[in-house]
Symmetry: C2
Subunit: 110 residues, 2 copies
DNA sequence: CATCAATTTCGATGATTAGCTAAATAGCGA
DNA sequence: TCGCTATTTAGCTAATCATCGAAATTGATG
């Protein structure tokens, strides 16, 4: 979870995630949205990959990056719950009474 | 919002916020929970203050730090909504249809 | 096989950051 | 005023980070 927070600490990476929310895009296509060099973007992708926030799919010489929303979701959820913040899943007030496949967090930080 | 994400990128600072969730504590009391020097903790407090995540109240020579939950909440909320993640307020599925006092975000990042 | 395109890896650099010790500031009580 | 306590500021170092250009990798195509 630390890796996730480190990853989203950077504005460029947050924007990459936001772009990927809609459709998965190639590394080059993503890079075109930012005023930095390809190698720099590649490094950002590596950080996001390391945090398991995105997934790479190589097709020929092209790499498609895809958002792993559940990982982002779990991190945000876990942290938020530490604070009683309503940051909830798609089902906030859990009507099942606790049959979550996500995880029950209480000290999942660090 | 960038400042908030930078602030919570550090595990020590996240833990400080978590400690502050219950009761407000003095700088020294907070410091006692970590294996680093007072000046280092003071620097962490400064970052959290800078991000407006905590508030300082000086009483004599002692400083009480208090969590500003709403700021954390807004940042988390705003970011999460960018992804359609349910990270919602205390009222997730907004039955009012959009009468929120928090803010309506759509490009609030960066 | 030679070349082109997409992307990453390498190696370097300047900026930021977390950490420390020592010193400064500020309030309080004798 | 002197000394004690709480906290921050100052000055420094080591590590991490974002960035770049050049080179390497990998796959496709003529």
């Amino acid at each position: 979870m630390n890796a996730v927070f480190k990853a989203i600490a950077d504005p460029t990476r947050r924007k990459v995630l936001a772009l990927l929310r809609q459709r998965s895009m190639t590394a080059g296509e993503l890079s075109d949205h930012f005023p930095v060099s390809r190698p720099t973007m590649s490094a950002h992708f590596a950080v996001l990959r390391e945090a398991d926030l995105i997934e790479a799919n190589k097709v020929g010489t092209t790499i498609f990056y895809q958002l792993k929303l559940s990982v982002l979701e779990d991190a945000l959820l876990g942290f938020s719950q530490l604070f009683g913040i309503g940051v909830a899943d798609h089902m906030t007030t859990d009507p099942t009474g606790g049959a979550r496949p996500k995880a029950t967090r209480e000290g999942a930080d660090e």
